[in-house]
């Protein structure tokens, strides 16, 4: 098949599992330029095709899998893809980007994305081999661990098949079930695995042979890729990322006082060094793995055994988020135990972040006497008890006993239990916080609150990096804001601050992060404090691949478009400014650690939120305005909001 357009096929696969039929969707090619891919293309279909009152686990919800115009191009950073749907955890948007090889493989099979709708009458999987698509029975995959499923599918369809699947947790509709790509990369958040499970769809396996995608200016792309490869090798931050992966952040964040510890009671963990990246490298046999065509190669894959804790390389290894939330957050100071809990979550298809914080909610509530053995089925919960946590992870995935309550997530579980336990659920919009203490970085607090997907650390870069002006003449930026200078951000802002300057900084960073979600581009390459390529070069990559005469301005606008479309999606679902809130604990002093006594100023937070809405062109309830939507070129979204508003009045 000939690829007509550089950067995309203009072929999106629609699969109706109810009727077991497939269809090819073509778009006006101009929409690819407006949206560029990923989150934006997914939102286009979700907004146009999913009724606002759709139940997340009903056949009417749609699971959208999407790539971008740069996915599959021969340059580091492009190897991600998007999954989106209505979230069964928050009731709003679930939108998640996942690395690995699956996205590029889908593109090599001549597809830009997949719209999955309806519900199969029995468990099935999709097998996509170039243009050919089959819906096949999955009886033999039911109830199996994710690695077993991957092996079965590769034995059946060839070792080069790439797999995307929900786990047992997804089959059992756990509200924070994840989707995994080849058991190493994850659409972790928002319960997208449960959406997949609700459709009786266990996996999507794909193999493509069109491996040389059409690139408009291969010479230019090669020039940037060559510069990039050199940069990756000599940039100190990136080379360290290659050596230790994200696990390197545990000790520094603890020293700085922002490592979630004991369910966000403390910000430093006495056992941080025992679970940090240096210890993991020393104690567990490991190596680095990579995503498709990436020179950074930052995935630490580990194995080892100590007592009951056995860790294999079947699921890669624990990243920063998982180490913190299954480690310090639960008081666990043994890297083997942390890695074993991480592996168990991945084998069953559970988001390690929500799992860790749902467990820590239960432990703190037990310690405070808010829940008892009558609730837990006889279990006595305590900190630093990984054997019990492993049992509970199994119980959650199979919805057995106390695990059935925990499978709802900490907010829903607290709402059901009551007794004041809601206070200890560290969530926003019902989704658990990530491994970042917002009381030391208030931009993250704003991000947790206003994120369309519930608490999410990937709304924007984090505040501490932008507290100094940096040296614009340096070959590489260390950790400063010189890379933001081309956007007009010229002056540093304190980390614990939500002034107008901070809100402006947050918004620009949110656009930049939004661009990454739109282009399915990895944040470990181009984000300001870490960049191996600059933001301007990222725009040049888009131009070289597609042939568009584009600019940083146009690319950032695509990022902004996604942020506001996501907001509109949630407004249609009934969300308002009241949902952009944080737990009371964030306004109370940290109990311990380097930042002991620090807390967020509630007045500043509320004022910052209103400033954010106003700067975004939204009203005081956080509803995007008609003029802003028109300015973003998506005026049709305003019509949807107006219809919703009219329906509400009736």
């Amino acid at each position: 098949m000939e690829q007509k357009f550089a950067g995309f096929w203009n072929r999106i696969l629609r699969v109706d599992l109810t009727s077991r039929t497939t269809q090819v969707v073509e778009l006006d090619p101009l929409l690819y330029r407006y949206y560029m891919g990923g989150r934006n293309l997914a939102l286009h279909f979700l907004l146009k095709e999913v009724a606002p009152d759709t139940k997340p686990l009903s056949p009417q919800n749609k699971l959208i899998l999407m790539t971008s115009v740069v996915t599959g191009a021969p340059i580091s950073g492009q190897a991600r893809h998007t999954a989106a749907a209505i979230s069964p955890l928050t009731g709003g948007l679930a939108d998640s980007q996942c690395g690995g090889w699956w996205g590029a493989e889908l593109k090599f099979a001549t597809w830009d994305g997949i719209i999955i709708e309806g519900k199969a009458d029995k468990l099935v999987y999709l097998w996509i081999e170039d243009e050919h698509v089959q819906i096949l029975p999955a009886d033999d995959l039911h109830g199996r661990l994710t690695h077993e499923v991957m092996e079965i599918l590769r034995n059946r369809h060839g070792a080069k098949a790439r797999t995307l699947q929900c786990g047992i947790a997804g089959e059992n509709l756990v509200r924070y079930a994840n989707i995994t790509a080849d058991c190493r990369n994850f659409h972790g958040r928002g319960g997208l695995g449960a959406v997949m499970g609700s459709k009786n769809l266990r996996a999507v396996a794909v193999r493509g042979t069109h491996r040389r995608l059409k690139i408009a200016d291969p010479e230019k792309l090669n020039q940037i890729a060559t510069w990039f490869s050199r940069s990756v090798k000599i940039h100190p931050a990136v080379s360290l990322h290659h050596e230790l992966g994200t696990s390197k952040g545990i000790v520094p964040v603890s020293v700085a006082g922002m490592l979630p510890t004991y369910n966000f009671q403390d910000g430093s963990f006495e056992g941080a060094e025992k679970i940090g990246g240096e210890t993991m490298k020393r104690e567990l046999n490991g190596s680095t793995e990579t995503c498709y065509a990436c020179a950074v190669s930052c995935k630490r894959s580990v194995e080892g055994e100590k007592g009951a804790f056995k860790v294999t390389r079947n699921y890669g290894g624990p990243e920063y988020e998982s180490i913190g939330l299954l480690g310090s957050n639960l008081g666990v100071d043994d890297i083997y135990a942390v890695a074993a809990c991480n592996e168990r979550c991945n084998a069953l298809g559970l988001d390690t972040i929500s799992t860790g914080l749902t467990l820590s909610w239960a432990v703190e509530c037990f310690e405070r006497g808010l829940i008892s053995e009558a609730d837990t089925g006889g279990l006595r919960l305590k900190w630093n008890d990984p054997h019990t946590y492993l049992d509970l992870i199994d119980a959650i995935a199979s919805r057995r006993g106390f695990g059935d309550l925990l499978a709802e997530g900490s907010w829903a579980a607290a709402s059901k239990i009551g007794r004041g336990s809601e206070k200890y659920s560290m969530t926003s919009k019902g989704q658990e916080f990530a491994n970042h203490e917002p009381r030391g970085k208030w931009g993250v607090a704003l991000g947790y609150a206003v994120s369309p997907t519930g608490a999410d650390h990937l709304q924007a870069a984090h505040d501490p990096w932008f507290t100094n002006p940096g040296d614009p003449s340096a070959e590489f930026n260390w950790v400063d804001l010189t890379d933001l200078n081309p956007t007009g951000i010229l002056e540093p802002v304190p980390a614990e601050d939500l002034s107008a300057a901070k809100v402006r900084l947050f918004i620009y960073l949110q656009y930049i992060w939004g661009v990454h979600d739109v282009l399915d581009w990895c944040i470990f390459t181009a984000v300001p404090e870490f960049r191996a390529i600059s933001l301007n070069q990222l725009a040049e990559v888009v131009g070289a691949v597609t042939g568009w005469k584009t600019s940083l301005f146009e690319v950032l606008k695509a990022g902004e478009r996604g942020v506001t479309m996501a907001r509109a999606f949630n407004v249609r679902r009934g969300f308002s400014a009241d949902d952009d809130r944080l737990p009371d604990r964030m306004f109370e002093p940290l109990r311990g650690g380097t930042l002991k006594g620090h807390c967020i100023d509630r007045q500043q937070f509320e004022r910052g939120k209103q400033l954010y809405y106003a700067m975004m062109g939204w009203d005081e309830r956080g509803v995007p305005g008609e003029a802003k939507l028109e300015e973003l070129g998506v005026g049709w979204v305003w019509q949807l909001l107006a219809e919703r508003s009219a329906a509400g009045r009736q």
């Binding site: 100190p236 000790v251 020293v255 922002m258 990243e319 501490p464 940096g470 260390w478 404090e529 380097t594």
Partner: protein, 80 residues
């Protein structure tokens, strides 16, 4: 006087090659953590937080003899 310094993030590049992440050596009495970092060649804004013998302290703190110093760069999370 003799001290031991644990360096994290990009600061690791300042460590002794034989001891990854660790610098050990003699410094004059009266040096602060900032003096030490300048001596090791750290960028002006490269350090963010520090501890001496397990207790958090400002970078302007004077280093006592036989201290174990920990220094970290501005942190975000897995990126730092």
């Amino acid at each position: 006087m003799w001290i031991k310094v644990k360096l994290y993030g990009t600061l690791r590049r300042l460590a002794s090659p034989q001891t990854p992440g660790i610098w050990q050596g003699e410094i004059p009495e009266g040096w602060t953590i900032r003096d030490l970092l300048a001596h090791l060649g750290a960028g002006r804004y490269e350090a963010c937080a520090a501890m001496i013998n397990g207790a958090a302290c400002p970078l302007e703190t004077e280093i006592p003899a036989d201290a174990e110093v920990v220094v970290v760069p501005p942190v975000g999370g897995g990126l730092c």
